[in-house]
């Protein structure tokens, strides 16, 4: 009897607490759906690995490799940059492909070098002087490079059976033959080498022991960075910045409730100057938070902070201003602190998950990667990655700077419009 009375009271109370209801039911469902789409491959939209292929060889073997790669459904192959104003661009070269990987346009580029077709299959110990396929990679996408290396072997096996046979015969003649004295010596030498070099796969055979198609992988960005500390500093940082600024902007709601806001607005302070003041404070708070986060990364995780100060300041300021404006908008949308708490948790977690704060966006399906561009997280993380991971100059940050400042202006303008309800009764 008493238990049911307590349950009834709690149910009645929960029914009227919309914020708690939203957090209890909507947030888990939304979150579950996002994870399901990302990792469950819903709609068959698992992400294709974007790949640039440069054929410098133009041999029969290299063309077969390119064709074979193009036939792979898990790859999205580019051989030339997207047309500019309808004008087709020239094909990628090794240099322009490397630049594209460095810029983060694609995680990988495959260069089939001149002379590759003369000896495309390698049985036995590899001859370092033989041209091998170059795999230029951005190690932030660890899965893509492993996948493409494997696919190259598969393509080699399936796309050029004639080359395989020819090469096999050559090698048979070369290594087996009638097993003359010379052949025996060669075989012995090869076996001896493999016995003496158990890790020969990684040192001589190009990263994957026993590769038929010789592949040499090389990281073209992030060589100086042992791991992705900068990515996590930015990714986690932005998410918490959003929480911090939403909370700080919520002070407006407290002030409105206590009557302090009324008193302030009866002085010389106008609503616009009040909101700009709050926005300046929240931006400063967010920027300081980023500084602390990156300094901690430098002190504890060897993040190369001091070499990237100008880029950090540019991205830090733009990110801080954008998240501050986001907080102002949330605060002026909500009427109570409880509402703000629920709404901000909902929006920030959703933005952080699709915007790349929880896992890298390149792991997501194409559509979700595009949706991520609607979030502050994605642009901020991209900007910080450009500086700390790709070592790009500050001038390359213009898209991120433009979008983040644009977001800030638009969100602030909407927040200002909504704040009119506080201005006059």
């Amino acid at each position: 009897m008493m238990i049911s009375a307590i349950v009834r009271t709690a149910v009645a109370s929960l029914r009227r607490d919309r914020a708690a209801l939203a957090l209890s039911f909507i947030l888990p469902v939304v979150f579950f759906s996002i994870f399901a789409v990302i990792f469950g491959g819903r709609g068959g939209a698992s992400p294709k690995v974007k790949l640039i292929v440069v054929d410098e060889d133009h041999s029969r073997a290299s063309e077969q490799i390119v064709k074979g790669l193009q036939a792979e459904t898990t790859l999205s192959i580019r051989t030339r940059p997207a047309a500019v104003k309808g004008v087709e661009q020239p094909e990628y070269t090794a240099a322009s492909a490397e630049a594209a990987v460095k810029d983060g346009d694609v995680p990988l580029a495959v260069i089939v070098p001149k002379g590759f077709g003369e000896n495309p299959i390698s049985f036995g110990p590899r001859d370092p002087s033989r041209p091998s396929i170059q795999l230029l990679k951005d190690p932030s996408d660890m899965i893509a490079s492993e996948m493409v290396t494997g696919l190259l072997q598969k393509v080699g096996m399936t796309s050029m059976p004639d080359v395989m046979a020819e090469q096999g015969t050559k090698n048979l003649e070369r290594y087996a033959g009638a097993l003359t004295k010379e052949q025996r010596e060669r075989m012995d030498a090869g076996l001896k080498y493999l016995r003496e070099h158990p890790d020969a796969g990684s040192t001589v055979m190009g990263g994957n022991g026993g590769q038929l198609i010789p592949v040499t992988a090389r990281s073209v960005v992030g060589e100086n960075h042992p791991d992705m500390i900068s990515f996590y500093a930015a990714a986690i940082g932005v998410m918490f910045l959003l929480f911090t600024t939403s909370g700080a902007a919520g002070a407006m709601l407290d002030e409105a409730e206590s009557g302090t806001l009324d008193r302030v607005l009866s002085s010389r302070v106008t609503m616009t100057s009040l909101m700009l003041g709050k926005m300046a404070f929240n931006s400063l708070l967010a920027f300081t938070q980023l500084v602390v986060m990156f300094l901690w990364g430098w002190a504890v995780f060897k993040l190369d902070f001091w070499a990237h100060i100008p880029g950090f300041i540019v991205m830090g300021v733009c990110t801080a201003v954008a998240v501050a404006a986001f907080g102002m908008l949330l605060a002026s949308t909500c009427t109570t602190r409880a509402q703000l708490g629920a709404l901000s948790t909902l929006i920030i977690l959703v933005m952080s998950s699709i915007g790349g704060s929880m896992f890298p966006r390149f792991l997501m399906p194409e559509a979700m990667q595009k949706a991520g561009l609607l979030t502050i997280n994605a642009w901020a993380i991209d900007g910080f990655t450009k500086i700390f991971w790709r070592d790009e100059p500050v001038s390359h940050l213009w898209p991120q700077v433009g979008v983040l400042l644009g977001i800030a202006v638009v969100l602030f303008a909407v927040a200002r419009r909504l704040a009119r309800r506080w201005e006059f009764a």
């Binding site: 206590s258 009557g259 302090t260 009324d262 008193r263 302030v264 607005l265 009866s266 002085s267 010389r268 302070v269 006059f424 009764a425």
Partner: protein
């Protein structure tokens, strides 16, 4: 004139909170707005401050329209709510509001110490607001409205929820302002406060001023100057009823009610009752006051 309100109307949906109010405040005067909760007092105040946009009518503060910078600079507003920053100290609060009014440097420091002194909070200057007693918070709330040395002060029920001792302190603060010649609007639903502090009183009900004048004028005009005498006798039978009627009184709920011009007339009434053999239980004299005026004008008690 410090304040002139002309034909002011403010509606919130179907509710007309201020219904055509016109009045003026004389220089150095303390004008009380007396009315029950929901009479429209706060809406009127907020209209003057510029926080409520009236539907029609006009307000001028020392000749400037309400809400203009000129009006804000000469207007001090003490809201009903404790509109303070709880996590700041007393002096930090005063300094913040001072800066919002454009004060800085030595002028700001002087204003802060003047207001702390007026609110007798100088020894609590460094105390966080959240640690102050209710009365101290009220006094600081008043001080924050005076930080920019306004020429007209609007006080919206500044004694709400305050104990009698603190209320006295607040009265002393207001009386000090009056002595200095400050023009004051004072809203309250406590008749005693209006009687004690105000030169003139406007009785407000349902968004209208239903009477305006000094305390004495309001009473004389509405209910006259006769006092009410209520006497209870051990018996309340027909004999008592006819005796009461003979002397111009009436029997209400077993009590005899008379009106007298002077208190000395009570002696004659009681003497007559004694001679008639009625045993007196108690007797009370009610002088007409603002409560009687309000009851007379609206048919309701002030705090119903």
């Amino acid at each position: 004139m410090p304040l002139r309100v002309a034909s002011l109307v403010k509606r919130f949906g179907a509710l007309t909170a201020v219904d055509g109010i016109s009045l003026g405040l004389r220089s150095g005067e303390c004008l009380g707005w007396l009315g029950p909760n929901g009479a429209g007092k706060s809406t009127l105040i907020r209209s003057i401050v510029g926080r409520v946009m009236p539907d029609s009518g006009s307000i001028s503060v020392f000749g400037a329209p309400a809400g203009s910078t000129a009006a804000r600079d000469v207007l001090g507003w003490i809201p009903q709510e404790l509109a303070l920053y709880a996590r700041l100290t007393c002096s930090e609060n005063l300094a913040s509001f001072g800066r919002y009014h454009g004060l800085s440097g030595a002028a700001l420091d002087q204003a802060v110490s003047r207001c702390l002194d007026w609110a007798t909070l100088t020894d609590r200057a460094g105390e966080l607001v959240k640690n102050l007693s209710g009365g101290m918070k009220r006094r600081l709330n008043m001080a924050a409205g005076m930080i920019h040395a306004p020429k007209l002060v609007l006080m919206d029920e500044p004694t709400v929820g305050v104990d009698p001792q603190s209320r006295n302190n607040i009265f002393e603060m207001i009386e000090k302002l009056r002595d200095e010649g400050m023009s004051i609007i004072y809203t309250t639903h406590y008749m005693e406060e209006a009687e004690r502090l105000c030169d003139r009183i406007a009785i407000v009900d349902h968004g209208k001023v239903i009477a305006l004048g000094t305390d004495a004028e309001l009473v004389a005009n509405a209910v006259g100057t006769r006092s009410q005498v209520i006497a209870r006798f051990a018996a309340a039978d027909d004999r008592v009823a006819s005796w009461v009627a003979e002397r111009g009184g009436r029997l209400v709920d077993g009590a005899a009610e008379f009106t007298v011009e002077r208190p000395s007339e009570i002696a004659g009434l009681l003497d007559g009752a004694s001679k008639a053999g009625f045993e007196l239980i108690d007797v009370a004299l009610h002088r007409p006051n603002l409560e009687s005026v309000f009851l007379h004008l609206t048919g309701r008690a002030l705090r119903e």
